[in-house]
């Protein structure tokens, strides 16, 4: 009860505030843009032929209603929240009248599958290798590895992604060039479908793992080398505590505290999609949808994705906040 009152409830409130602010910003920013989506649509229509002024006016009213641009900004804001709370992000403007939520839900499983897998893989690999490199920092293996990471990390992601596509999908066609699964396959739990998904997902996942692993590796190595010199690790070593115990219970366990936060935020940002990855590999995820939305001036779709991403990151931070007392006993008692 005490824990609920002192720890959980304040964090839930914080979570709501973050989402509220984020969504409000997502509402305001497009309205500050000089683009007028209603006028845009009317202009597009005008290209096809002449319209009577009365027809234009009634069309404008209908469009404003549909786009949620009717009335003063404040009225729009209230209406916006009303729709949002019922899970309605409005219709997409570019693929009118498909609801935004439907487009997002179509793309979401692809993105989640790709990013959750690659984030977790990169996190685990980075921590394991980073810890070993931090403990045996004088070994040749560790030095070679660090140099390698130092060389790969600064390569701009899009260049590496394009190189991978060129190498393994075009010059040596081991992997397919585009898509999330072979064209014509229907999602099912058959081996044909799953193997096709794995084959299509490997290159984008690989490129993501390489890039994010570099960061986890370097941060873990730095954390470990600080911990190796810490009083309690030195003392455990003097006492000849078994090496495995020191590695798992002393080094990795203590370095997990900051790394868990990193992982949670990484997983939270999954909902924003991986824009460059999905564009380069033509992967049918959220990033691809966002790309289309930006180029077509589809405000509703953009806002839908931004809101989802705000909720995702805030929820990731909330979950790690709630789990943190389990990881670090020092947070348990205030």
């Amino acid at each position: 009860m005490h824990l609920l009152k002192r720890y959980i409830i304040p964090r839930l409130i914080q979570w709501l505030v973050v989402i509220f602010v984020g969504v409000t910003v997502a509402f305001i920013v497009p309205r500050l843009s000089p683009l007028d989506p209603v006028q845009n649509t009317l202009n597009r229509m005008a290209v096809y032929g002449l319209m009577y002024p009365e027809a234009v006016e009634s069309l404008r009213a209908t469009l404003e209603e549909l786009y949620g641009l009717k009335g003063t900004v404040f009225e729009q804001y209230i209406a916006f929240w009303k729709r949002l709370l019922t899970g309605d992000f409005g219709p997409s403007l570019s693929v009118f009248p498909t609801p935004v939520i439907q487009l997002i839900l179509q793309a979401l499983p692809w993105t989640i599958g790709l990013l959750v897998t690659s984030t977790i893989t990169a996190w685990i690999l980075g921590i394991v290798i980073g810890t070993l490199a931090g403990v045996y920092s004088e070994s040749r293996f560790s030095k070679v590895l660090e140099t390698l990471v130092m060389c790969i990390s600064p390569i701009p992601y899009y260049i590496m992604a394009l190189t991978l596509v060129l190498l393994f999908a075009y010059l040596i066609p081991i992997f397919p060039l585009a898509g999330g699964a072979a064209i014509g396959l229907r999602p099912s739990f058959s081996w044909t479908f799953i193997s096709s998904v794995l084959k299509h997902g490997f290159l984008p996942a690989f490129s993501l793992v390489i890039i994010s692993m570099g960061w986890y590796f370097l941060s873990q190595k730095a954390l470990t080398s600080t911990l190796v010199a810490s009083d309690f690790v030195t003392y455990a070593r003097i006492a000849a505590v078994p090496r495995r115990t020191i590695l798992y219970r002393y080094l990795i366990r203590n370095s997990l505290l900051p790394q868990a936060t990193d992982l949670a935020l990484g997983l939270g940002s999954v909902f924003g999609g991986a824009l460059i990855t999905e564009v380069v590999f033509s992967y049918p995820g959220i990033g691809q949808v966002l790309n289309t939305a930006i180029f077509q001036g589809d405000f509703n779709l953009m806002m839908g994705i931004i809101i989802l991403s705000v909720v995702g990151i805030a929820t990731g931070a909330l979950i790690i906040d709630l789990l943190y007392p389990l990881l670090d006993p020092r947070v348990r008692y205030h």
Binding site: F232, Y235, A239, V241, R249, R253, N254, L257, R330
Partner: protein, 333 residues
């Protein structure tokens, strides 16, 4: 009989930056022994090499610290183990069973995310024959109780304990397996005087009951007077005087020791205390002669040419000073 011996031990900090080698002679030609059933104090000011000496005695030598000469020998069950040449596995075998270590009170030596009972398990479980978790906790609880700590401590995390309790826990960790020699590095530093007294009394009680040996490194002469049987006085990396605590305090022979003892306040005595003028020499420069010569009121020309040898001047009393004996220190390789 000696349990731990240092023979002409030389431990230097050797660093290299941009091709320039810098050598700090923190422990220079030190010979001493830790006998059975005694409390040996190592005294000296900050930077005189006492902590380095202890690290080397414990066999914790990591670069830039390098043992360039001499050796450290443990006598384990009648057999000699050369610590300076031993493999890491051999060292792990003698640690905590033969020698253990109580760290400085100010350090965070307990894993912050582990309960005390798990730390106990980490430290001893692999050294005892098949013992269940429950048995181990019971054993640790009894041991803690005998050191004046409630068994609930075992379920606590380090941040929930006070500084004094943490220090008692580390003493409990170091004594659980009843080692022959316990090294304590400034065990009372950073504790307030009341807790200091508790820790000192605890250490001396354990020593009386277990009849083991305690090596106590501290700059606090009060602690030495209370606790130790013999004292080794270090100055600038060398042992300059060694003797029974009573002798050192009542009749110090080296001018440095005389200053050291003379600077201690005495209750009721309002006389001004004279301290040695100047500062200790820098240990990263080549030094010849007696290390104390620049501060010594009785310095002679001879003191600048050669270092005096540590010679026996009476029963259990050794001094390195030309005023006492003209013998020069032999430079061993």
């Amino acid at each position: 009989m000696s349990l731990v011996r240092a023979e002409s031990l030389k431990a230097y900090y050797i660093t290299k930056a941009y091709g320039v080698e810098r050598v700090v002679k923190a422990v220079d030609n030190v010979t001493l022994e830790v006998r059975e059933n005694e409390i040996l104090g190592i005294a000296g000011e900050s930077g005189c090499g006492k902590s380095t000496l202890m690290k080397t005695l414990l066999g914790i030598v990591q670069p830039p610290l390098t043992v360039v000469g001499g050796r450290v020998v443990y006598t384990v069950d009648g057999k000699d183990v050369d610590v300076t040449a031993a493999s890491p596995q051999e060292l792990e075998g003698v640690r905590w069973r033969h020698v253990s270590y109580v760290p400085q009170g100010s350090m965070n030596v307990l894993n912050p995310v582990r309960r005390i009972k798990h730390t106990f398990r980490d430290f001893v479980a692999h050294r005892v024959q098949r013992m269940s978790q429950a048995e181990l906790v019971k054993w640790a609880a009894e041991h803690l109780k005998s050191l004046g700590l409630p068994p609930e401590v075992l379920n606590a995390y380090p941040h929930q304990l006070s500084g004094g309790m943490k220090q008692r826990v580390t003493i409990a960790l170091a004594t659980l397996l009843k080692p022959k020699v316990i090294f304590a590095d400034e065990p009372t530093t950073a504790l307030d005087v009341i807790v200091q007294r508790g820790v000192i009394q605890l250490l001396s009680r354990i020593q009386r009951e277990e009849k083991n040996s305690l090596v106590l490194v501290t700059h606090d002469m009060g602690v030495h007077a209370h606790l130790t049987h013999r004292i080794v006085i270090m100055y600038a990396g060398k042992v300059i005087e060694e003797g029974s605590t009573a002798k050192i305090f009542s009749a110090p022979q080296h001018p440095y020791t005389q200053y050291l003892i003379g600077s201690l306040p005495v209750i009721g005595d309002k006389e001004y205390r004279v301290s040695a003028p100047g500062n200790p020499p820098r240990l990263d420069r080549p030094l010849t002669g007696c290390r104390f010569v620049d501060r010594c009121p009785k310095a002679m020309p001879q003191c600048r040419q050669a270092a005096p040898a540590l010679v026996e001047t009476g029963k259990d009393h050794k001094v390195a000073c030309f005023l006492v004996s003209p013998e020069e220190e032999k430079e061993s390789a």
